[in-house]
């Protein structure tokens, strides 16, 4: 049996490798240094010991200052990583991300650029309630100048983090709390997964499920179950939302003729809307059933476990959406 690695270890290793190679790679965030235990999710564990407190900087609770300092350091040629402890806290740093990180290359006519990675985590099902569980990737996807990464497994997380740090544009790197413990076969050191390339995680011929992040696991589970019913599901893991791998997605749906777009974020005005619209534009008249979107409920994430479970995209509903597509009669 080959060695295994968790997503936490994978992200840590990718940052470690990048820091060893380039003095300009630094990490700023609340509690990230050794003195604070290496971050609340331990992603930066061991790094201060190796690279020192000038490169692993534990910050005050000041997200605007964290992202802003990373933007500035990036302008000076560094490759900073900003940790925003939970995704909902980007709401206090949107100006730095959207008006500055995303736009400075353009507004300067290409004289400057912002090679910055903003790492953050989130996820529904942890019991963190309304202000600590949102998935806000659709906001960032609406902003020109940002790249968006959402790994679903440890190996990809490692490889995508390396690519994100190497990228000369700002990257929003979204981790899912519930995925930190997931294990992959160890991809070994130096592993890189290029941005903008989706993975066909399972091949199938009847319907494509297009998803990313934690719900890739749901999709694979459902694909397995449906195969017992004779329905062959193809699972596409986007890996990066932006750049969007239109070629891979369109080819898959062209082949299967049916698509379900799935994400944990609220369905309405989510990334699924863009993907569904594009599929409809590209494949008008060629689809065998309407593209279905499945996402979180249209409410804040409730705290009570019973409600939180009802809020999350439901596996039965996903399976039903695939069945409806396959059985579509119009």
């Amino acid at each position: 049996m080959s060695a295994q690695i968790t997503m936490t270890q994978a992200i840590n290793r990718a940052i470690d490798e990048a820091m060893a190679e380039d003095e300009g790679v630094i990490l700023l965030g609340e509690d990230v240094a050794a003195k604070q235990g290496g971050g609340v999710f331990k992603i930066s564990s061991g790094l201060t010991e190796k690279y020192g407190e000038k490169r692993i900087r534990a910050t005050p609770i000041s997200e605007q200052a964290i992202v802003g300092a990373c933007v500035g350091a990036a302008l000076a040629g560094f490759r900073p990583i900003a940790e925003i402890m939970l995704m909902n806290f980007v709401t206090v740093a949107m100006d730095q991300i959207v008006n500055h990180a995303a736009k400075l290359r353009f507004m300067s006519g290409g004289q400057t650029n912002v090679p910055l990675v903003i790492r953050t985590t989130t996820g529904v099902g942890v019991g963190f309630g309304g202000q600590h569980s949102d998935m806000l990737e659709a906001w960032f996807a609406h902003v020109a100048g940002l790249k968006i990464v959402t790994p679903s497994n440890a190996a990809d997380a490692q490889g995508l983090m390396r690519a994100a740090i190497a990228c000369n544009d700002p990257v929003i790197f979204i981790e899912n709390i519930l995925c930190y413990g997931l294990k992959s076969d160890d991809p070994g050191p130096g592993h890189i997964v290029p941005l903008g390339k989706a993975a066909v995680t399972r091949e199938g011929s009847d319907c494509s499920i297009i998803t990313y992040g934690r719900t890739v696991l749901d999709a694979l589970e459902i694909a397995g179950k449906l195969s017992e019913e004779g329905i062959s599901v193809e699972v596409i893991d986007l890996r990066t939302i932006a750049p969007y791998d239109e070629a891979t997605v369109t080819a898959s749906v062209q082949k299967t003729g049916r698509a379900v777009v799935l994400h944990e974020a609220v369905k309405q005005y989510g990334t699924g809307a863009e993907i569904a619209s594009r599929l409809n534009e590209k494949l008008f008249g060629k689809l065998k059933a309407p593209v279905t979107r499945i996402g979180g409920a249209f409410s804040a994430v409730p705290m009570a476990n019973a409600l939180e479970q009802a809020w999350i995209p439901n596996k039965d509903a996903i399976a039903d959406a695939v069945r409806s597509a396959v059985n579509w009669k119009g």
Binding site: E30, G37, P60, I61, A297, A310
Partner: protein, 326 residues
């Protein structure tokens, strides 16, 4: 000048509030330890007295805004135990029908208008409650509680400046427990005291030993009186300790041993008991208060356990005034 004495009834009141907080906190921890509750809980151990004395200086209809670490504030303010326990357990009988949880307790009848999970966000909202009171002339005061770590975020700054500019009837109660998550005070700012910040807005600011019941109460009372008299806001920096880490069960090995020792020595509960004895309260009277509270805790835990789980239709309710279609 702030008073340095206290009347006996007020002291009994503070003791009762403190012990209500302390016994509830202990109950939550025991429910969590025995697996009867499985939620994130930001224990208030060590900060009981700060809220008890502060809330004793407020009226029931004064407004309160607090944070995820807010059970001491809510209980001291008067939120009834049954719905509080049920909310933390995620039950329909909870203050918020289980939708909010411990980080978002709301109970307007006792003035608890917002409990926020986002550091610093309560301060601007508190200004708005105070502004409504100022315009209405209803004489209410708004108190907002937050930690030392929160004083470095933008919302703190904007809210402080605005409150002083408009002389709003609001009290900023910074519960300085010397840590923000894993970061010690000296590692998040270079000032010795948050009171320095009040000066940066021309605001009145006082630092107080939050474990000194008399000082804590009298300082708060003076701030409340000033606010009610239209003399504007006050920042109170109440020094205290976060005795059981950031949330219950979290590792706190990052705290240096000297700090742990200092913290243990400053436990507000034995100190308050001694103060009560010094003020001629009998052991028996104090024990009776606690025994009564413990009975209330058991009842509340029972109530929460028996309260039903919310049904999935709750997700469509309270998003807007009109229910969302199924």
């Amino acid at each position: 000048m702030t008073e340095t004495t206290i009347d006996r009834d007020k002291l009994r009141d503070i003791y009762t509030r403190t012990m209500r907080v302390a016994r509830a906190d202990e109950k939550f921890r025991s429910l969590l330890m025995t697996g009867k509750l499985a939620v994130i809980y930001y224990t208030v151990r060590g900060q009981e007295l700060v809220s008890a004395a502060a809330m004793a200086a407020l009226e029931q209809d004064d407004y309160l805004v607090t944070t995820y670490r807010g059970q001491h504030d809510q209980i001291a303010k008067g939120v009834p135990l049954n719905p509080l326990f049920a909310e933390i357990a995620g039950k329909v009988g909870g203050t918020c029908r289980g939708k909010g949880g411990s980080m978002h307790i709301t109970h307007p009848e006792t003035g608890v208008m917002v409990t926020t999970g986002v550091v610093g966000s309560g301060l601007p909202i508190a200004n708005g409650l105070a502004l409504a009171s100022q315009n209405r002339g209803d004489g209410k005061v708004t108190m907002v509680c937050f930690g030392d770590g929160a004083t470095n975020i933008g919302a703190f700054h904007e809210a402080m400046n605005m409150a002083q500019l408009w002389k709003l009837p609001v009290i900023f109660l910074c519960q300085n427990n010397r840590y923000g998550e894993h970061t010690a005070f000296a590692d998040h700012t270079k000032v010795d005291s948050i009171v320095t910040r009040a000066r940066a807005y021309g605001m009145e600011g006082v630092k107080v030993d939050g474990n000194d019941a008399i000082a804590m109460y009298n300082m708060t009372k003076a701030a409340v009186d000033r606010a009610r008299a239209g003399e504007g806001p006050t920042l109170i920096e109440a020094m205290c300790y976060r005795m059981m880490g950031h949330f219950f069960g979290a590792d706190f090995s990052y705290m240096p041993p000297e700090h742990l020792a200092e913290m243990a020595a400053e436990d507000p509960l034995p100190r308050l008991r001694q103060l009560m004895l010094d003020h001629q309260f009998s052991e028996a009277e104090l024990d009776a208060i606690v025994a009564d509270l413990d009975a209330q805790m058991d009842a509340a835990a029972e109530f929460a356990a028996n309260s039903p789980l919310p049904g999935p239709e709750e997700i469509r309710k309270d998003v807007f005034e009109e229910e969302i279609a199924a």
